[in-house]
């Protein structure tokens, strides 16, 4: 039968992929009604076809891109087809373009990348088409990217009803207006406010990363003024420890890493990156606008080229430096600039167009073009000329003309050299093109020796060297004078003795004469050395003069505008340099002469000595010539001199500044939202947008879109003040809610994850907060700020805040690592793991034992022999709350049982009159009897140890680690 053979041919055409799976019925009969279809032929569009197309086809044939005018994201669009006609012929799989494309029937195959569709997948498509391509009428299609919420600039939404100021009461915090509206909408009942002690601990840990002291706690509990909490918040925000606390959060997001490599070899990041860390701390404390911070990190060298206090912020970029591969370095820069500031996964578009967002592969390389020219260097700082010892790691534009190409499939070995990409952002981020203006640099920026930090250090060094020579000369002169006096005296004495006719007891011996002779020759030697010193001093003086003159000339030449007397300055510099050259040549000649004379004075006994003498003579002749030349040069009136330092390009491309300005522009739809989300996450333990680095179309929508936008707009209108954002958040009722109360079953039913914030989330302290709090409570924490990173191996034995210890790949503080400290690669959101290694660290470390002893001693001094008072103090100090009756009983029993340390049940009524209230006032449990109380005013070693154990146990209490 002809039709059969035709089918067979077609079958062959489709190739082996079709052998499996495709039912024979579908192949054998082209008629629309091919008899009863096998039950297996029923294919559900929604569950079997649409996901397949979405996974493999829609990136290029969908809302983002419509290759060949074709979209495959809805059945209607599939039927409509594109430039080559409909994608399918219902009931005719073999005729359908879609099938021909995925089987490669026409000599090309879709999808062009990745594995071909499997036989099963093709069979599924074919059976669906065969069945007439049934699909629901009401089919949702993907959003047009320009309509995606995060790509539309935030607009301040109207506050919900009842949210405005009403007479007689203060304004409702806008956060609560939005949160409460959602709660009402969802039928959720919010928890009551947290207790005051719980709230205080929460806000302390959130804002400064340290718990309140017991005194602070008591003061707050006693403060009945209506704005007591607000005052605390303002105090904490003004506390310099706030900057340290939040700097660590931003160090996570911005991937802070001290340098690391292989042994002493620098391979990643840069030395002295702590200066960027200090900039973060200081910026946060100064409440520098977030927009300004972004600009300084991305383009501090362009916006304030000569101010190293600003330029150090570019440590953000220097951190990505990577020894072995420039592309890896730029990849990191692009990926994390996208994720950290814009919440976009540009990195997905390195090898191919982004699958979800309107970011083409070309867009990726256009973003790269902003960074293409930049390079890293270390400038002199801190009076230290050796930049290995200290300096500022910063970026500058070194390669203004370096072209950016697309790498085919992301492969650096396959650049598309036919096109050079100019810097640009995808239209979804920046609807209009961003103007780039080159930044002419002042001299001190492209010629860093002119910067006072550098030039000054050079002068100090030259002066120090000169002074050292002068001092040596002085000492030598003194020695010579002393020798001469000695010789004179000795000679006079010998002379006198010689004149005596009668032999005296102390008549001069041959030995005395020999000594005199030696002393005289020593004088000769010292005199010779002194001559060298004098010449050396002349050289050092000339060097100082030369350096000063050359610096002045450099300054005159390169500062803007150049000095009027530049000619004179340059000539002066040239003359001083020539004078220095003469002095140096004189010194060399003098040394050569001496060496020659020394050898010439020797008996020319052997060949070796003769040879040495000949060499010395040749050197002397050379030195003569050099000196002659240097002297001859003195006659020159030329103005050419050697500049003092190395130079860099005089202009920066302005690309990064343009990029930074757009990222920080109020019209940018993403920047403010992304920041608000990060700050929110760190106050509530959960972000508003759960995909914190992906606000794109594959990210998750916000739980409270209006709130997010309101805060984003507010942030920008408050001059991007992060402190204002903190303030608004922690003053909200939502933030102040309790985390645990009588279980509200209905709430749990509706919103078990607390997405809508009907209560506060219990969180765990971050690693740094655990360590810092332990030290702080025990009174050990050193609160001095800033400075070079501290050896991470000393973290258990030293007491600085944790953010100051070295944080690099393989060089991290073990204790912090165990508590989920962010790695150096990426730290957008930390995990809160609970693992036994944490228990071991808190139970077993010398560090925790030591701090527990210190704190126990401190509290013991207050509690004296009163065990119950001690327990109360310990709970209030470590956990920020009173002990419950049961806890008190348990702890008393512990102290009593384990170490024979009987409780001093000093009158129950008087104990804890200043306590946090509640439990401690109740009568002591029976185990604690007043007997054996004599002489217990100074706790015995056993008692002290038991108390230290108790405090140590509280450090291990979940309520210590928990932020409730």
């Amino acid at each position: 039968m002809p039709s059969v053979s035709r089918s067979a041919n077609r079958f062959a055409l489709f190739g082996p992929l079709l052998v499996v799976g495709w039912t024979a019925a579908a192949l054998a009969d082209e008629a629309p009604t091919a008899g009863p279809a096998a039950p297996t032929a029923a294919v559900d569009y929604a569950t079997e076809i649409k996901p397949l197309l979405a996974a493999r086809c829609v990136a290029c044939h969908g809302p983002l891109r419509q290759q060949q005018g074709l979209r495959l994201d809805s059945a209607a669009a599939i039927r409509r087809g594109g430039e080559s006609g409909p994608a399918i012929e219902p009931h005719k799989p073999r005729e359908s373009l879609l099938i021909r494309a995925v089987t490669g029937a026409d000599g090309w195959r879709m999808p062009p990348e990745g594995e071909p569709l499997s036989a099963d997948e093709i069979s599924r498509l074919a059976r669906w088409i065969d069945a007439g391509a049934p699909a629901p009428h009401e089919e949702s299609t993907a959003t047009d990217p320009s309509q995606h919420w995060a790509f539309r600039p935030p607009v301040r939404p109207d506050l919900s009803e009842g949210s405005t100021t009403s007479p007689g009461r203060s304004a409702v915090n806008p956060i609560d207006a939005f949160v409460d509206a959602t709660l009402r909408q969802q039928g959720l009942e919010p928890y009551p406010p947290a207790s005051r002690e719980r709230l205080l601990r929460r806000v302390y840990l959130d804002l400064i990363g340290l718990p309140p002291t017991r005194d602070e706690l008591l003061a707050f509990l006693a403060d009945e003024s209506p704005d007591a909490y607000e005052q605390v918040v303002d105090r904490l925000l003004a506390d310099p420890r706030h900057g340290e606390r939040w700097a660590r959060h931003f160090m996570d997001i911005w991937r802070y890493s001290d340098w690391y490599g292989y042994g002493a070899e620098l391979r990643n990041s840069q030395p002295h990156l702590w200066r960027w860390r200090d900039w973060i701390v200081e910026s946060l404390n100064a409440d520098r606008g977030y927009d300004r911070m972004l600009i300084e990190m991305l383009a501090g060298d362009e916006v304030a080229p000569t101010d190293l206090n600003v330029v150090r912020a570019t440590g953000y970029l220097a951190r990505n430096w990577y020894k072995f591969n420039r592309n890896t370095w730029l990849q990191d820069t692009i990926e994390h600039t996208g994720k950290a500031f814009l919440g976009l996964t540009f990195n997905c578009a390195r090898c191919h167009d982004h699958k979800y967002d309107p970011i083409s592969q070309e867009n990726y390389y256009q973003l790269r073009a902003y960074f293409e020219p930049h390079e890293v260097r270390v400038d002199v700082a801190g009076g230290q000329l050796d930049t290995k010892v200290d300096g500022v790691a910063r970026v500058y534009d070194a390669y203004a003309d370096r072209p950016t190409h697309v790498f085919a499939r992301g492969d650096e070995k396959e650049p598309d050299n036919s096109r050079v990409l100019a810097p640009a952002l995808p239209s979804v981020v920046a609807p209009e093109s961003i103007a780039i203006t080159a930044v002419p640099l002042p001299g001190a920026a492209w010629y860093p020796a002119l910067a006072s930090a550098h030039g000054g250090a050079l002068l100090v060094k030259a002066q120090t060297e000169r002074d050292a020579v002068a001092t040596q000369l002085q000492q030598r002169r003194a020695e010579l004078a002393r020798l001469q006096i000695e010789i004179e005296q000795q000679a006079a004495r010998l002379e006198l003795l010689d004149e005596l006719t009668e032999p005296a007891l102390d008549s001069p011996t041959e030995l005395d004469r020999l000594r005199l002779k030696n002393a005289r020759s020593l004088v000769t030697a010292v005199q010779a050395a002194l001559e060298v010193d004098e010449k050396q001093l002349a050289v050092a003086d000339a060097n100082l003069v030369s350096l000063t003159a050359r610096l002045a000339a450099d300054q005159g030449r390169y500062l803007d505008p150049p000095a009027a007397n530049i000619e004179d300055l340059m000539r002066g510099a040239a003359n001083a340099e020539r004078a220095h050259a003469v002095a140096a040549a004189e010194l060399q000649r003098h040394i050569a002469q001496r060496e020659h004379d020394r050898l010439a004075a020797k008996p020319l006994a052997d060949e070796a000595t003769k040879k040495s003498l000949a060499e010395a003579a040749a050197k002397l002749a050379d030195a003569d010539k050099a000196l002659e030349a240097a002297r001859a040069a003195l006659a020159s009136t030329g103005v050419n001199y050697s500049s003092v330092g190395s130079t860099y390009p005089r202009e920066s491309t302005g690309r990064r500044l343009a990029l930074a300005r757009w990222i920080a522009d109020r019209r940018n739809p993403l920047t403010a939202r992304v920041l608000v989300n990060h700050v929110w996450l760190r106050h509530f333990g959960r972000p508003l947008v759960s995909t914190v680095f992906d606000f794109g179309m594959n990210g998750k929508p916000p739980t409270h879109p209006e709130l997010l936008d309101w805060l984003a707009v507010e942030l920008m209108e408050q001059g991007w003040s992060i402190k204002s954002l903190h303030r608004m958040i922690v003053l909200s009722v939502a933030y102040r809610r309790d985390s645990a109360a009588d279980s509200l079953a209905s709430n749990l039913q509706i919103d078990p994850d607390n997405r809508y914030l009907w209560r506060a989330n219990t969180r765990r302290m971050e690693a740094e907060v655990v360590r810092d709090s332990l030290l702080y409570l025990a009174g050990s924490l050193e609160l001095n700020a800033g400075g070079p990173e501290i050896d991470q191996k000393t973290a258990d034995t030293t007491s600085r805040r944790s953010l100051y210890y070295r944080h690099a790949n393989e060089k991290r503080v073990t204790f912090l690592e165990l508590f989920d400290q962010a790695g150096v690669g990426e730290g957008y959101q930390r995990t809160e793991s609970v693992v036994p290694q944490q228990a071991l660290a808190l139970l077993n470390s010398e560090f925790a034992h030591r701090e527990a002893r210190l704190l126990a001693d401190r509290l013991g001094a207050v509690a004296a022999a009163d065990q119950r008072r001690f327990i109360g103090l310990a709970f209030e100090t470590v956990l920020g709350r009173a002990a419950t009756d049961a806890e008190l009983a348990t702890c008393l029993e512990f102290l009593t049982r384990h170490f024979g340390a009987r409780s001093q049940d000093v009158a129950a009524a008087e104990s804890e009159s200043d306590g946090v209230g509640g439990a401690s006032a109740v009568a002591a449990p029976q185990t604690a009897t007043p007997e054996n109380s004599a002489g217990a005013n100074s706790p015995s070693p056993d008692v002290a140890r038991a108390r230290a154990s108790l405090v140590h146990a509280l450090f291990n209490h979940n309520d210590f680690l928990a932020i409730r």
Binding site: G823, T831, L840, L843, A886, F894, N958
Partner: protein, 504 residues
């Protein structure tokens, strides 16, 4: 009968929300939750395919395998620096035959024209490791071993003796011709792309625990150096730190950080203090009955306390019989260090540790196996250090009936060049090299894949390193595609394909 629904949807209804996977696992034992049941079932191998919606939706793994597993545990032996494949598991007589000639002069000059030379290579530093032109003869003899008669070199006599239980794969390739390949061997990604979760961390992430006293993913031996990936080679990257390998020293006195209390704290004192911690946390648990993290913390303290005894116990072989001691070579200086690690590995998997990663030859740099010169002397010594212990591990597992459910993997980041480097060495060689597997249903006495006559390119049945990962996951009943973490797009190459030819 949908028997798995009993613990997927019935008694156990995971509210994974807001609780990390680890939190969740630590909860095991508080009551007979489904997970505990599941973990117990998987201990007994009674686990069926888990196709819960959560798993399909890419949410947190349930801790159960995706399909019936063949293995419960993995021991992963990694030789740091690049073991010579042509002197170990892939004999190449042509090397001796054409020794001294250049590859271009030999009949096999076409290996220099292979597209793989450029296509698959991604150099860390361009030009550092060019093709070594002059053919270097095999430095050791081979002989057929076992019933199967597979040729194994004379540097591996003991492992050779176990070859009937081993499947050798001679056709591996990787893309880094420098020691970043060590990281790549564990993550599947070139070091220039950064750090990614490692094979051990994926398993930790995907499967529940089989023991209550020990970490699930243990690292023995000195991990690779900073140069080549460092802790990244047993790290977990975006899976989170709780899934990274826990490094144990074979030192009962100090096996891991903070393992034991300071010296001046007595055992009783420590235990009493822990009891107080538990009492106080127990009181808090009454106050906060819904706090999963608190419950997890209580469990973590119990596990920590058990680890304080269990870890030193597992690493203390003092009481092992003399025969076991000598089997692993603990009686000889040369074999003792690695023998101790192999014995520790056996004892760890015996107690249910899922993944034990052993490093041999880490030397603070590229690794001891990196035989740029003195290959014969170097490899002779290194093989002697590991050959007996590894064979002992296999035979010990076998005699205890554990080999059936323990997968043993041997590998190195790459092989070594057919051409000579200097007078007596071989350079790095990513184009073709060998690994082997044993146990857990791996077919024994089998060779799979081949390199060309010079051992240059993997020629038949080529496998990138992630195919090995896929094989390991397959043995454990895990489908890597079901482990993908939302927002962390994995590439096709990351998933690899199980090497079916060596599995039964």
């Amino acid at each position: 009968m949908k028997s798995n629904s009993t613990f997927s949807h019935g008694a156990f209804h995971p509210r994974c929300t807001g609780v990390s996977r680890r939190t969740f696992l630590a909860d095991v034992g508080m009551g007979f939750t489904g997970l505990a049941l599941g973990a117990m079932l998987s201990r007994d191998g009674v686990v069926r395919a888990d196709t819960t919606q959560a798993a399909q939706a890419g949410q947190l793994p349930t801790g159960l395998p995706h399909f019936a597993p063949k293995a419960k545990n993995v021991i992963w032996l990694f030789m740091v620096g690049g073991t010579s494949h042509v002197e170990s598991f892939d004999p190449k007589p042509a090397l001796s035959q054409y020794a001294g000639k250049t590859i271009a002069e030999s009949p096999y000059r076409d290996v220099l024209e292979s597209p793989f030379l450029k296509k698959n290579l991604r150099e860390f530093v361009a030009g550092n490791h060019k093709v070594q032109p002059t053919i270097f003869p095999m430095q050791v003899g081979y002989r057929p071993r076992g019933q199967c008669g597979i040729e194994i070199s004379d540097w591996w006599p003991h492992v050779g003796g176990m070859v009937d239980d081993i499947a050798v794969v001679r056709s591996m390739w990787t893309t880094d011709n420098d020691h970043g390949a060590q990281l790549q061997f564990h993550t599947g990604r070139h070091a220039l792309e950064g750090q990614f979760p490692t094979i051990g961390s994926w398993i930790h992430y995907g499967l529940g625990s089989l023991n209550d006293d020990l970490p699930q993913f243990v690292v023995l031996g000195t991990p690779i150096a900073d140069c080549c990936g460092g802790a990244g080679a047993h790290g977990s990257n975006y899976l989170g730190p709780e899934h990274q390998g826990v490094q144990l020293a074979v030192d009962p006195k100090n096996p891991l950080p903070y393992a034991l209390p300071p010296r001046d704290v007595s055992w009783d004192e420590a235990r009493d203090k822990l009891a107080l911690v538990n009492q106080l946390n127990g009181l808090a648990a009454i106050e906060y009955p819904d706090d999963a993290a608190l419950r997890a913390r209580i469990k973590s303290y119990e596990l920590a306390f058990r680890m304080q005894t269990a870890v030193p116990e597992v690493l203390n072989f003092g009481d092992k019989t003399a025969s076991t001691q000598s089997l692993y070579g603990l009686d000889r200086d040369v074999t003792r260090p690695f023998g101790q690690q192999c014995l520790a590995a056996r004892r760890l998997v015996e107690r249910g540790v899922r993944f034990v990663q052993l490093f041999h030859g880490s030397n603070g740099g590229a690794g001891a196996w990196d035989a740029h010169g003195g290959l014969k002397a170097g490899h002779t010594a290194l093989c002697e250090q590991v050959d007996r212990p590894i064979a002992a591990l296999l035979s010990d597992l076998k005699r205890r009936g554990m080999l059936d459910e323990t997968l043993v993997v041997w590998g190195s980041e790459f092989g070594r060049t057919p051409g000579a480097q200097g007078a007596d060495g071989r350079d790095h060689h990513p184009y073709g090299f060998s690994i082997w597997l044993a146990g857990a249903g791996i077919r024994g006495g089998v060779v799979h894949g081949a390199t060309d006559e010079l051992g240059f390119h993997a020629a038949e049945n080529r496998h990138y390193v992630t195919d090995l990962h896929a094989t390991v996951l397959d043995r454990l009943g895990l489908d890597p595609r079901q482990l993908e973490v939302p927002g962390r797009k994995r590439l096709e190459v990351d998933f690899g394909r199980p090497i079916r030819e060596v599995t039964s």
